[in-house]
Symmetry: C2
Subunit: 376 residues, 2 copies
């Protein structure tokens, strides 16, 4: 029945697009190798997940001269006699990966796969399943919280903005107040990143169901602003504390972020010890040196704050938690230099390393490790 509905009631733009679309279902699913990527839109046969965590791409492009897939590494697709192009990738690490199609040199999004705002544009995604038995990042038959899309007018930014707010299971039926984690995305991403790419609600529902994490509210706001510290302190936190049942004190506030969000966490968290008792810095670290675009110059002022009130920081920060996606993470060196400065000053922190580089699988793992440490 769906098929007729789809066929007859589409807008005219859709009819042409469906015919010209690269990844439409053309063959019986049962005759194809592996299985559909779980991020495919519902009628797309490709990309496909093959054994060994490899992805097969197949694109119908009879008039193209060159077709590539960009997964960080670029793969050249090979053309067959039907005008279809295909490739099979190397083994990919578990979890979420951005990718792009490149058609004759133009990098575009694949309409057959879900889109995600990342890399400062709408990127496509594939998801490599976690090993059998690792159900931490999969939806399970446990009580579920929800994600609430809230609009607010920011006087700091002078514009309407959005935040995505995770409310834990039971929020609507209880009368209790909850602690809050403010959790920031990375550069080129936005307030959608932690829920769409990061699966925040699924991770938290699973942790809370097992009693591993306290029920908490998680606020994921848009970090694309020139004044993140004021956006957070003067706009987001007052909005949340007015509109949600939260414990409005430092012992019940945490701040964390990945990559750019990790620098924002350091820059907004270190000067505001009265606001936050927990800081999480994922795949990040202060600039070790000035960059061609600025940044790095002002880092010394933060080290001075730490130096001047060393005992305060060591006493009042219940967690100063730093994670890294192995040596292959592009933030690794900066982070090492930063931690050496912390050691010299005598600032206590916890360091967690997991392989995977500067990628979402590492950040999901970071949230999974960090959340249980909060609000105990």
């Amino acid at each position: 029945m769906n098929r007729i509905f789809t066929f007859l009631l589409l807008q005219s733009v859709c009819l042409g697009a469906l015919l010209a679309q690269p990844n439409r279902r053309t063959q019986d699913e049962s005759t194809l190798p592996g299985k559909r990527s779980e991020l495919n839109v519902r009628n797309a046969t490709y990309p496909r997940l093959l054994p060994g965590n490899r992805i097969e791409f197949k694109i119908k492009a009879p008039d193209a001269q060159k077709v590539q897939i960009d997964l960080g590494r670029k793969y050249d697709l090979v053309r067959n006699t039907n005008g279809e192009w295909s490739c099979i990738t190397d083994s990919l690490t578990q979890g979420f990966h951005y990718y792009f199609l490149i058609i004759d040199g133009v990098s575009v999004a694949d309409p057959a796969s879900e889109s995600f705002y990342g890399c400062s544009m709408m990127a496509s995604g594939v998801e490599i399943p976690y090993p059998d038995g690792d159900t931490r990042f999969h939806i399970a038959d446990v009580p579920h919280g929800d994600i609430r899309i809230k609009r607010y007018f920011s006087k700091t930014a002078n514009s309407w903005r959005r935040m995505f707010v995770y409310c834990p299971p039971g929020y609507d039926t209880s009368t209790q107040s909850y602690p809050v984690l403010y959790l920031q995305h990375g550069g080129g991403e936005d307030e959608r990143g932690w829920s769409n790419q990061g699966r925040t609600d699924i991770i938290m529902d699973n942790l809370i169901a097992k009693g591993k994490a306290e029920p908490m509210i998680i606020v994921m706001t848009d970090g694309n602003t020139n004044d993140f510290e004021n956006e957070l302190l003067k706009e987001c936190i007052p909005f949340i504390e007015k509109n949600f049942r939260v414990k409005a004190n430092r012992n019940n506030r945490a701040l964390a972020g990945l990559s750019m969000g990790g620098i924002q966490t350091l820059n907004a968290g270190i000067p505001n010890l009265d606001y936050f008792a927990y800081l999480g810095v994922f795949s990040s670290g202060w600039w070790a040196n000035p960059t061609p675009f600025g940044g790095g110059n002002d880092t010394e002022k933060y080290y001075k704050m730490l130096q001047n009130k060393k005992d305060d920081y060591n006493t009042k920060l219940k967690q100063f938690w730093i994670s890294m996606g192995g040596k292959e993470d592009i933030a690794y060196n900066n982070c090492q230099i930063m931690m050496k400065r912390f050691d010299q000053i005598g600032i206590k922190y916890t360091y967690f390393e997991t392989p995977g580089g500067h990628t979402w699988p590492v950040w999901r793992e970071s949230l999974y490790q960090f959340a249980p440490l909060l609000f105990k």
Copy 2:
């Protein structure tokens, strides 16, 4: 500051993609004609809105042989000496329009523009502003509700599914119970359509602020199922009535949908007069004749129901509301035939027509007209 964050902390896949991307900002914004399309991602200069509601597209594609934009009508782009391709469209109607890039015959999504699940794939979108003074579909300084993303396990579909739920301003602080509108997307769309393409929350916030519509909950679920009637009656409605403060009776339940969702509204609404006092059918209508794929054969049973209990329907349906996007709407003829049958039987309904065809501007307008009629 954003620029350094973005530059240095991107994942490796992003760096290559940014360089190969067709719509990056290459020129000073102030030297360019018109303004950025409001659905562009934050760094994209093109597409641009020109006077007269025309859109200019510019794509960097030095190695492509042919570049087109598909907006229903296809536009051939013209290549300049820099390897950029451009075109200016005809005047477009106000509101949201899907589009695709076609690079050497391959229809793809534009990474420079927000993506929307429509046409059974991830499509790009442009938004043509409404005329000055028509603020019905724009965010305003009024109390705002929110959209809640709820996951539920459906025994009917035997899978995890999602619904998007609009809660009106004040829901969290009041103790009152609310009426509910169940509102379905069209073919090739999903539970995101009404909030992303349809701007449901903005439309409702504005209507409620003006006192034109009753505060209500709006449930937007995934209509892609072979058994919509049971999905709605046995899964969605019980889930909503368990998890939200709602008035759980027929006088406080409405069902509406666009296109495929309009047929689902008819098929689930007409046999269940005990459930719904209000029905809305936007750009839709029962199949007038059997189709090559089935459908149409079973319509007579519904007409018989109407015939047999004509007075019941005319008394109990407080609104049976039918809208159409003018004669240019692809559902127009079917709908006319259906309404003629209603006339013959003596079934009362209200018909509303607005120009624009089978498109989201028509469906936003339909919601704007329909919502004020409910729950009075």
